[in-house]
Point group: C2
Chain length 561, copies 2
């Protein structure tokens, strides 16, 4: 086998049932996305590796999950929980306990490959409805049994890790239905465990399914869309790829119903109120630490894909891309739905990885769009037909003013094909100790360059480490920065240290601790410094109010313990 | 003097210094807006009055304010406060104590006419800066002295009434400057006591005053604009007449700095975050009960009045006006800035009051726009030139589809002249025991008619009572209803009973307790039923956290006591 024809033996089989790999693998067990030849070439070059390094796989996590940890709950407690939830909706086996304790962090993947398991719950329950949740929370509150909620499990911050054992409550098994569309109010009443694609499909098909006049869209499409749920979007404050138009998860919630240890309540159904601080907003982002979201009324939007306008541009520099984006956000002509700009490293690696012919590279160079300077921007506009045309035209005019060249809608169509599937490459790369991970922050325009340069300098200070950055959620006052880093690394301790360094640098250079990944247990330790004592005390006070026995997702969530 | 030529002796002189009238008179002491002849005619007809009833004025409140209530604070406390604030910034005289205890409710006007004064503070202080506020709050917290904030004083819910005496802190005397415009972030850092017109003028003139590239607008224009302050907008959750585009006060706040009894803090400066419940939002609408807003960073907007597009329409029915409005809000082509629809009674009275020639009435009738059915709509679009044209064109098309006739921009220009001055008529009418007052609510589309009919039926069940309603703040999920009632009534007890009945009916028919007037002490008693015990307990918990000694605006604000 010559080096020209060699390809790593990328895994092509679903992980065997009961294995660690079946837990850490992202998404559909039958779906794979292998690094392309260009990816493979780039990785070898950047990390000074040869085909020989890709002949033998690292630990694949193909062993059967075995825990050997006795359940700590007393048998009468398990009996009581069983009688609430029904024997068919409770599990105590090792596999379930590990599966429903795990999210999709790189750290978990590194450790599960080695059979290392951190905290797990004693018992897994699958409530049938909000009444089950209410009874369970009441019982656990009285018995002081910790309760952690698991929904789709794509958390990247240990947000569903049961740090103190107890019960893991899986909300997505049964509580996953679209209950009602109120077309007059343009709202949908939905159970929190409904997955993104099922929710969106039901809204798109509303005329058939709910006899509505129009089809609708949820407007929320995070990269984890296929493995995320409506409730998860809200309690972790997610943000979809089209958030620049539709808003973040925070913005598209109309009202919510929560079960907490001190009672059940539904927030008010009004488009706006002046009746004091809004409890509806106080609950968003509570990450399971105050109570459990059991039903939600979401804002929905007319679905008009036929009006979509796509665009992509190459800017000569990052400065030009940032300045044009700011002008687009502040010019009061409407907003694009998807809007992204990639920094020079992401742009060049992207062009290489997604197959830019040499002739295009030469052409771009000739036109003054130089490697490691030029920046790709892409996006679309959604809404009314004349509106989308107007906004696309305005964006084009501003892009040109800032020296950009239109690449038509081609690049964005290409991006659309991979918009949800990038995470699938992680397992393939991980089989050869290549890790790919992300951290992210929000930032005002006036601090964007400082944050970008500061974090980038830290990541690049580690030898042979890629750092690609984009901004993908825009506001008149600023945007987010999304840092993707790729390294040849397998030691969980080394990874943790590196990751902590990045978070330290995000904080030091004035980024928020998260724009849309949430806090969980991973970011928790930075919260007090970030918010300051006075504001952290507000969160602690609310926690103590809703959960006096500290049973709701205890052990560091939101930095509370 | 024949009845044809008789006109009531409307007051034309500024109220004498030191009188009750100088306190309850709205706005500029030198400015008057008398009821037109059409108004006078309508009132006589509707209330079965004759010129004879307008020959003698009722109590005018022209007596000198005299309180005869000893200051309760101890002299060493007054000395301590004086030493913090400086002797030139403290007042203990009767007039100041009454003035800074009074808002602009009808009840206060009725009572002040009779020399009836409710709770007042012992001492009035005018802090020079946030450091003064911090020291005052610290001292009052330690000494358990109540602190109530007064800013512009246009409150319509006793929100600045010092229910337990103590200190009234007037924030608008010194803390009223625009500190900085950050043009990159499109934000303005401003002191809370800055009045609307001064703030807007400084933003409009930003290129001169702050060397910015563009002029800016605040986007927030409540009817009380001229007698309201930036801080007041936020802590009471106000809403401007152009809120349909720019958002409510809640939406245009970027970050805030508060002084509370348990500490001073500034919320984070990010366009969006996923770091748990947002303290920035928790503080909005706290109405002085958690702490004192001492500085705020507001979102600002490009000021482009040259692009403004005005429109007005006559709809055949209220149903048609409501349906068209809903379609406009849900069609995803952008939003108008000002957008209003008047119900049939408001439409017909408005046409009469603002001088519709008979020929126009006949023409409207001929075209099928019948009295007590037809509904006026008016508004404008702001922003980019092509955007405003597009949105105006779309609105026109939808209006036509719903049977409306365009009245061009004439009606809206006419409305613009009176947009801030309507409250000026209150004193004239009150001189002859005619009261005009308002209550308001927000509502989803599916409950709009029920709320409108329910509240209207209650108001109209009182003989000879006018009830005019409009919707003026629109969202995809619903709107607000603004009820204006006019009656021949002078007894404060009768008024209170009538007003309570309206609030009961707003609640019973599913409206929110307030869309943008706030809670204060007036609406407080309904809060627990409205929010429910669980959500009211959240507000109580926050109150106790920030203000353990219950000194911040105590005595019923937000329904907390």
């Amino acid at each position: 086998m010559t080096s020209k024809t060699f390809r790593p033996d990328w895994t092509e089989k679903a992980p065997p049932t009961g294995t660690y790999r079946s837990i850490f693998k992202y998404g559909d067990p039958q779906h794979f996305k292998h690094p392309s030849d260009a990816w493979y070439k780039m990785i070898k070059e950047d990390f000074h590796l040869s085909d020989a390094d890709f002949r033998n796989k690292s630990k694949e996590g193909l062993e059967q999950v075995s825990l050997n940890r006795p359940v700590q709950l007393k048998s009468h407690q398990i009996e009581a929980i069983t009688s609430i939830i029904g024997p068919e909706n409770i599990a105590l086996d090792d596999y379930s306990r590990v599966k429903y304790a795990s999210g999709k962090t790189t750290e978990e993947m590194l450790e599960l490959r080695q059979g290392i398991v951190r905290e797990v719950a004693d018992v897994i329950v699958h409530p049938r409805d909000k009444d089950d949740v209410r009874k369970l929370v009441e019982y656990c509150h009285n018995e002081k049994i910790p309760v952690t909620v698991f929904s789709a499990g794509s958390s990247v911050n240990f947000g569903c890790r049961p740090a103190r054992g107890g019960v893991s409550l899986v909300i997505s098994t049964h509580m996953n239905k679209l209950l009602e569309i109120n077309e007059l109010n343009q709202t949908a009443r939905v159970q929190p465990g409904m997955f993104g694609p099922a929710y969106e499909e039901a809204l798109n098909k509303a005329p058939e399914l709910f006899k509505t006049k129009h089809p609708y869209t949820c407007g929320h499409f995070p990269q984890s869309f296929e493995y995320s749920t409506v409730g998860g979007w809200i309690v972790t404050l997610g943000s979809g790829q089209a958030s620049t138009y539709y808003g973040d998860a925070y913005d598209i919630v109309f009202s919510q119903e929560y079960v907490t240890p001190v009672g059940t309540f539904k927030t008010l159904d009004y488009p706006a109120t002046a009746t004091g601080p809004k409890v509806n907003d106080i609950m968003k982002g509570s990450e399971g630490a105050f109570g459990i979201l059991v039903e939600v009324t979401m804002k929905i939007f007319r679905y008009m894909p036929q009006n979509r306008q796509r665009f992509s541009f190459m800017y000569p520099t990052w400065d030009a891309a940032v300045n044009a984006s700011r002008e687009i956000m502040q010019s009061e002509f409407g907003k694009p739905a998807i809007f992204r700009i990639s920094d020079p490293e992401e742009t060049d690696r992207g062009l290489k990885l997604y197959g830019m012919p040499d002739i295009v590279d030469k052409f771009l160079n000739l036109r003054g769009f130089k490697p490691m300077q030029r920046c790709l921007s892409l996006g679309n506009v959604e809404g009314d037909r004349d509106y989308t045309k107007l906004v696309a035209r305005k964006i084009k005019a501003i892009a040109r003013k800032h020296g950009a060249m239109s690449l038509t809608g081609y690049a964005v169509r290409k991006w659309e094909h991979t918009r949800y599937t990038e995470p699938y490459m992680r397992e393939d790369l991980g089989d050869y100790d290549i890790l790919i991970d992300t951290l992210e922050a929000s930032v005002t325009w006036d601090n964007l360059h400082r944050l970008h340069q500061g974090v980038r300098a830290y990541v690049k200070s580690r030898p042979d480490t890629m750092c690609m950055t984009h901004a993908s959620h825009f506001y008149p006052q600023g945007t987010n920065l999304y840092f993707i880093f790729i390294a040849h690394m397998k030691d969980p301790d080394e990874f943790r240290k590196f990751q902590r360094g990045i978070i330290d640098n995000i904080q030091q250079f004035g980024g928020s601790l998260s724009h849309h990944h949430g806090v969980g247990r991973m970011i928790g330790p930075w919260m007090k410094t970030h918010l300051g004592k006075e504001q952290m005390d507000v969160l602690r006070t609310l926690k103590k109010h809703f959960d006096p026995n500290n049973i709701m997702n205890p052990g560091g969530q939101l930095g509370l313990d």
